[in-house]
């Protein structure tokens, strides 16, 4: 089982769209896939037509033993299940602070699912907190969607710095450019000449595309309703790149 987290401190950078589309592509490959919608806004749950509600809320999930499995719902796609969001996740930090070894808690919760799933995607909320630290510890890969703008790059630098300070494995971090609008000069400039503090990143990037926005209308991954669109092809390339990193290393 591989745990892939999609994370950024910033909101609105395409985290949920990436988590939804990449998990969908993993399931199309036949991999048993779970996406955990950790964001209390519940966008990923919404995209999959699943109510953002967990019985007993985040508290019960974190404290319990088998609650995780019971809360999982199958999506419209074979091999793809979802652990829905819950509004109580907004207090995840407080919930985690009440248990022993909060940073290792997520890992312990996911462990029993190792037999059931080949991939677990974590759609993380935008913040930096003990909940995020729990994600940093559990994930095998931390994908950071980054808009090619000055502020976004600055945020990426902050994440890197935090990882180093807290002695997390920075090798897990894989940034990629998201919402790239090649009509904008700054986007072109940054994508074509990535900054030196970004020596390792995914070659594939995700464009700013209306199809991705339409995911909310269709309530489906972009590959389902616009398989031949540029956006769908870009996610596909990204998934192929991720697989080659995971399996050919």
């Amino acid at each position: 089982m591989k745990i892939i987290a999609i994370y950024n401190i910033k909101g609105g950078v395409g985290k949920t769209a990436s988590a939804v589309n990449l998990s969908y592509l993993a399931s199309l490959d036949g991999a048993r896939t779970l996406i955990w919608d950790l964001d209390p806004q519940g966008a990923a749950s919404y995209y999959f037509r699943i109510k953002a509600k967990v019985k007993g809320g985040g508290q019960k999930l974190v404290e319990g033993h088998n609650e995780l499995d019971a809360a999982i719902k199958g999506t419209d796609y074979e091999n793809l299940d979802l652990l829905p969001a819950d509004f109580s996740y907004r207090n995840m930090d407080l919930i985690l602070d009440n248990v022993k070894k909060p940073t290792k808690r997520l890992n312990r919760l996911l462990e029993p699912l190792a037999e059931e799933y080949d991939f677990i995607f974590l759609d993380c909320p935008p913040s930096i907190s003990s909940a995020s630290e729990s994600v940093f510890a559990a994930a095998d890969m931390l994908l950071i969607p980054t808009i090619p703008t000055t502020l976004s790059l600055r945020t990426y630098k902050q994440i890197l710095k935090f990882f180093k300070q807290q002695k997390y494995d920075a090798m897990k971090i894989l940034p990629f450019f998201a919402m790239v609008d090649r009509r904008k000069q700054l986007h072109r400039l940054i994508v074509d000449n990535p900054p030196s503090f970004m020596p390792v990143k995914l070659d594939s990037s995700i464009p700013y595309a209306s199809e991705i926005e339409r995911m909310g209308v269709n309530r489906a991954p972009v590959g389902d309703f616009a398989a031949n669109s540029r956006a769908a092809q870009c996610y596909k390339s990204m998934w192929e790149e991720l697989k080659s990193l995971m399996f050919e290393a």
Binding site: D29, A31, R49, I72, K73, D76, F247
Partner: protein, 517 residues
């Protein structure tokens, strides 16, 4: 909800349209376009995966390929991600659980597509009021396509109802619908059904002699039957031996050659001398030709386990040795391929088959031609057993290694004779004696293998130029020498067990007919 999947048999002669119509009455159904995919089952020539309850299955829908693996009959079928193609050999896989599990079942054997099933699927989804999928129903038509043929046959229609996690109530409702239809639950698997169909049209691969001899049969008929079966085994393994990927084909091919030569020379005075001379020379030539191929195959295989004990840094220094072994193997393999693909080879084998298939009695009959086979079998096994005892008893700690090689050859002859004539004796008793002999043969075989491997290494040292590799090779020689000594030291004990009074009595009881003497 007890299960998360239900399978039903749907009558072959009925179409699915009516069923879909009834489903629409009770549920909100979404029907996706019908799709076709192929399931190809891979296995070795001797069905090692199937026998072990494992399965390696490739699903191809024309757009993507998915490889599934089941480690044993109780394990689930699991997708293998990150593989670009189906491996031919276990060693081609990256190190990991899958490789380890596969190797433990198929060892060095090659995988090939064995059975192909075409599935025509109508995917249905049951939706809830929010148009969310809550149950999946697949309506499948399974067609069997023997590999490399176009004509298919319908194996059966099946309905598979799959639960969607978290929507148990909907699944229960669909389950009740199907129970009301009074459909038979399906437990059979399509691979089994397809295999049953394929068996009727293909010859089963086997390297077992599987002979049933009549004790009163004239020796000439029995010998022809034995040799004909050996020829079949040899021919079954020729294509694989020429290809050279799966080294067991060459091994089985060589065993049948050796047995043929032994049958010809040991079962004396049955065929005319001229025939024996001609064909034993031919088969002996084939044996010599393929010796280096087999020696290198075995050594390349053993090299890794020898090397493991040498430490990591030395293992890398073994590359020139590996290359040397591979080059020698390739050279010997090419010489073999040139021979077996020649017109002369085909001609001799055709003559051999014609001779064995001829039902004309041998004229003039040789001394043993018309003798009942059971009598000749008794005489041959008993006398060869006596030789083995005599040679073994003469071996002391000081005896030259050559004597052990001679005994190894005699034991091999004895083993072959016992196997040729196995069906003439009570199954349990002869098997016990064969097993007693096996214990001794293993010891003598190991002793010989160490000898051959040391010779190969010495050859490498003489020809080699890579100093580091020669140093490692020399170290390996000294290790092998020690192992050979240890094997030699355990010989006496093994021989004592084989030549025990109890075994001697059993041999006498089985192969010496009391009213003979």
């Amino acid at each position: 909800m007890a299960n998360n999947q239900l399978d039903f048999v749907f009558p072959d002669k009925q179409g699915f349209a009516e069923l879909i119509h009834s489903l629409r009455h009770g549920f909100s159904i979404r029907q996706s376009p019908a799709a076709v995919y192929y399931r190809t089952f891979y296995d070795t020539v001797d069905w090692l995966l199937r026998t072990a309850g494992s399965a390696l299955e490739l699903h191809d829908d024309g757009q993507s390929q998915k490889l599934y693996w089941r480690a044993n009959k109780d394990a689930p079928l699991r997708i293998q991600l990150g593989l670009k193609q189906v491996p031919q050999l276990a060693k081609q896989l990256p190190a990991g659980e899958f490789r380890q599990q596969l190797a433990s079942v198929i060892s060095v054997r090659e995988l090939n597509p064995r059975i192909q099933i075409k599935v025509k699927r109508i995917p249905l989804a049951v939706l809830n009021k929010n148009e969310k999928v809550v149950v999946r129903i697949n309506l499948d038509e399974n067609w069997f396509y023997p590999v490399k043929t176009r004509a298919g046959m319908l194996l059966g229609k099946r309905i598979c109802v799959k639960a969607v996690k978290g929507y148990d109530e909907a699944f229960d409702q669909v389950e009740a619908f199907f129970h009301e239809m009074d459909l038979r639950p399906s437990q059979d698997n399509m691979m089994k059904l397809a295999l049953a169909e394929s068996k009727s049209s293909t010859i089963e691969y086997s390297t077992k002699l599987k002979l049933l001899l009549d004790p009163e049969m004239p020796a000439e008929e029995a010998l022809k039957a034995i040799l004909l079966r050996l020829l079949e085994i040899m021919e079954q393994n020729t294509a694989g031996a020429i290809k050279g990927t799966d080294i067991e084909f060459m091994h089985d091919y060589r065993v049948s050659i050796r047995k043929t030569r032994s049958a010809l020379t040991l079962i004396k005075r049955v065929f005319p001398k001229k025939t024996v001379k001609k064909y034993s020379k031919f088969f002996s030539g084939l044996g010599k030709l393929t010796n280096p191929v087999r020696d290198m195959d075995v050594f390349l295989l053993k090299l890794e386990s020898y090397a493991e004990k040498l430490g990591k840094s030395k293992q890398e220094q073994l590359q020139p040795l590996r290359q040397y072994l591979q080059d020698n193997r390739d050279k010997a393999q090419q010489a073999y391929v040139d021979t077996v693909t020649s017109a002369e080879y085909r001609q001799v084998l055709k003559g051999w088959r014609d001779y064995l298939e001829s039902t004309d009695p041998i004229e003039p009959p040789q001394k043993n031609s018309r003798k009942p086979v059971s009598q000749l079998a008794n005489e041959l096994i008993w006398s060869t057993y006596q030789v083995a005892l005599k040679e073994g008893n003469a071996i002391t700690d000081e005896t030259e290694a050559e004597a052990l090689h001679e005994l190894r050859k005699t034991c091999k002859k004895l083993r072959y004779l016992m196997e040729f004539f196995q069906s003439l004796y009570p199954a349990k008793k002869i098997l016990e004696l064969i097993n007693a002999l096996k214990g001794l043969q293993d010891n003598l075989g190991d002793f010989n293998d160490y000898h051959v491997h040391m010779d190969i290494l010495k050859g490498f040292n003489e020809a080699g130029t890579d100093e580091a590799a020669i140093k490692v090779s020399t170290k390996m020689i000294s290790r092998l020498d020690k192992k050979q000594h240890a094997t030699r030291n355990s010989f006496a004990e093994r021989f004592r067990a084989f030549s025990s009074q109890e075994n001697q009595n059993e041999f006498r009881e089985l192969f010496v007919v009391s009213n003979d003497g």
